[in-house]
């Protein structure tokens, strides 16, 4: 068994990231991010004025929402190679990926729904917008646990020739710390922790982007070192 398949899946990540970057810069809601202090009428007016942009990005994101899953799947495969007593962290990792991705899809749905019929009652448009932000910014719990599971499986790897270098695990733990503030966006409507604040929005997205890039290179290296070794996950 060679690693060609894993490498192919891995290389689907860069185009996916490119599409996400495109979606990010094309999304009217993000430039600049809508303030949580807007009244329902202001939110409704915003959605009425930007139907095309929001719908376009929502459709695009519906299509590409799961396109980073192959990257995570390869991560899971590499995790399962580490010499621990069980694949318990791999399983937790896979479930976390599913949950986190669904949360992103729900966020996208809510924004798309608000733009689909922009003359809806402003209360409802505002509710959909709030819900979208909640699902987009707040549910950091799964990606935190996901990264911790990855880090733990690297730390506990008892191979003489570890699959991932130690610093990848340290890096994953650090991302956990940087992602955590996102959850507090539920509590604040202004300041650094609000959903448009530097800690919840900018730091979180930057961390995520750096994380994907670093993981991509780390995985590439791990897969290339795998050689003919069979993977035990099932």
């Amino acid at each position: 068994m060679n690693t060609r398949g894993q490498r192919i899946l891995l290389w689907t990540a860069p185009p996916a990231v490119a599409l996400f970057v495109l979606a990010y810069f094309a999304f009217p809601v993000f430039s600049p991010p809508l303030s949580p202090t807007l009244t329902p009428d202001q939110v409704a007016a915003f959605f009425r004025g930007n139907v095309t942009g929001i719908l376009g990005v929502s459709i695009l994101c519906n299509l590409i929402a799961c396109s980073l899953v192959p990257l995570f799947a390869v991560t899971a495969v590499q995790m399962s190679r580490s010499a621990t007593s069980s694949p318990v962290f791999t399983y937790a990792y896979i479930i976390c990926v599913g949950v986190g991705t669904t949360a992103f899809i729900l966020a996208d749905y809510c924004w798309g729904m608000a733009a689909f019929r922009p003359d809806r009652d402003p209360q409802l448009t505002s509710l959909l917008n709030d819900m979208a932000w909640f699902f987009f910014v707040a549910p950091v719990g799964t990606i935190m646990v996901q990264n911790l599971c990855f880090a733990l499986s690297v730390y506990l790897d008892q191979r003489p020739d570890p699959i991932f270098p130690r610093w990848v695990a340290h890096f994953n733990v650090a991302t956990v710390a940087f992602l955590a503030p996102g959850a507090f966006s539920i509590l604040y409507k202004s300041g650094p922790l609000a959903w448009n604040g530097p800690l919840s929005f900018t730091l979180r997205l930057t961390t995520f982007a750096v994380y994907i890039t670093v993981m991509f290179w780390a995985l590439l290296r791990a897969v290339n070192h795998q050689g003919d070794e069979r993977v035990a996950l099932a």
């Binding site: 621990t84 318990v88 399983y91 729900l106």
Partner: protein
Amino acid sequence: MSGGVATVPRSGSEPAKSWRTNRKLDQWIAFWSVPFFFNLFGLVFVPLSWMMPPRSPSSPTPRIVDFMHSHNLLIACVILTLAYGLAPVSNACYLMQVKRMSVSPAFRYSMMVGAMTGAIVGMLFPMFCFGLGAFRPGYSTAVLTMLYDFGYLAFIGSLGCFCVMWMAFGLAIILDENNILPKWLGYYTIWQYVTELMAAPVWIVKSGPFAWNGLMTFWFAMILYVSWQFIVYFCIFKAIKNQPESEFA
């Protein structure tokens, strides 16, 4: 503060070399995160936000509005969004034992998908319904009561994703020939499935024993569920403990 933070010190601080010698360290870390998670879950739901025991579906609108505006709901929401990632870890503990059984991998794959969908519809979504009401006090009462209903129904209403999980888990235990978990636990797990059936009437009535805060649909199912949870963790504890070293690859 979060589940993440709680598990980090154990690994991040590179525990003593004696820990290193324990080959099952990964399983023990995952296992001990579970009681932590459930205690947190209980604390957040009961004394912090008083979301549980469930409020009446027929309580008067002003009381619903009052409740939906309580600030503690937001704090509860924050804690849970930080910690809900630990639910997959607890499910991974079951999955690990199912992997050791003689049954087909299809069982643990079914459970895995059940766990994924369950975490979204049974935890994250209802949580956000409650959080949204408190987040923006300007919502009309119609929106608030809808969020209230949506939150409770998604949380308590019967969920097929858990049905599939318990079915796969119960069947795997019963069919297993390696005796990883006791057979009676498999039969006990069938009642877990039944508790989901029991919860079906909450969609129909708004008061009495079959409402979402009812004696039959909530309290009775809760008694079955909580005792099952304790027993299953005790059994998993023994299963991890009894796993022979020779099984490790």
